[in-house]
Symmetry: C2
Subunit: 171 residues, 2 copies
């Protein structure tokens, strides 16, 4: 039986830092230096976080993380892939996330999508996520995808990856 891989959306497939930066630039004219955000959660890093994360089309128009399309296609042929996204806190994001996946990752079927509040009740063998709070509860192999907020974290029980090429190399 194929192993099951749980793949996060925001910060692993969707480049939400770029999306926040773009909106912040449009709103305030401020160019944000990503390295200055190391160690800060998105909600701490972006002054207009609450407004932007709840705005229409925030998730629908998010850029795709480089190489994630080819990377996820590779995983989808070798593993049983589930896309698992924390989303029920933002009801407007739900449809946007499904449509976004349909556009950029058309090989992912609706049967493979889970939109939840917390991820600690989803079964899997491997989890790829940028948030240690999700990986902490997971009992299988934990892969931490580098994002500015987790750059200073040392997690001995996780394998850190910086790119989708890194994921392909180890899975």
């Amino acid at each position: 039986m194929m192993k099951q891989v749980l793949v996060d959306m925001d910060g692993v497939l969707a480049d939400v830092y770029s999306q926040f930066s773009r909106l912040e630039l449009g709103e305030t004219g401020t160019v944000i230096d990503i390295e200055s955000l190391y160690g800060k959660l998105e909600s701490e890093a972006f002054p207009n976080y609450e407004k932007h994360v709840r705005s229409t089309n925030f998730f629908r128009t998010a850029p795709v993380i480089p190489d994630s399309v080819g990377g996820l296609k590779y995983l989808n042929e070798k593993y049983n892939v589930l896309i698992v996204s924390s989303a029920t806190e933002f009801p407007d994001s739900l449809k946007e996330k499904v449509e976004w996946l349909n556009e950029h990752f058309p090989f992912i079927k609706w049967q493979q999508i889970i939109l939840c509040g917390t991820k600690n009740s989803i079964k899997g063998d491997i989890m790829i996520d940028d948030h240690p709070k999700n990986l902490d509860y997971f009992e299988g192999k934990k892969i931490l995808f580098s994002q500015p907020h987790n750059m200073y974290m040392v997690k001995d029980d996780c394998t850190r990856v910086n790119t989708w090429q890194d994921i392909i190399n180890i899975l």
Copy 2:
């Protein structure tokens, strides 16, 4: 630690048969005798199923199953409750389902809601569902909530309940 109960929405909390019957009556003037639908899936029972299930507000305005509010409140105090609904096939239903839960079951938090494609990757100790296809994959205690489509089914590994009072009596 509290046991985890997975509670289905359509057919357990939301009275989708009544909703389909109401819409069918409005569309064609046909009064549908529920007993005549025994053994038929919703998609077989209602001539305009596809049109209605995908129509705006179908889920948002569905009636609540009798006694489910008090019953779910009871479960929510005694168990770790997760609402698990097959929904990603119908992207327009996603926000409607969260809003419907917020309206009728305000004690359910967004952290407790899982909207998925298939339910076989959700962990739990007890599952309440009207669809045997969901219960079949489940490893814990299986509770089959009676609905017309499952009335002729004999499932030895499930406990059949006809009402929310039955659920309270056994859980």
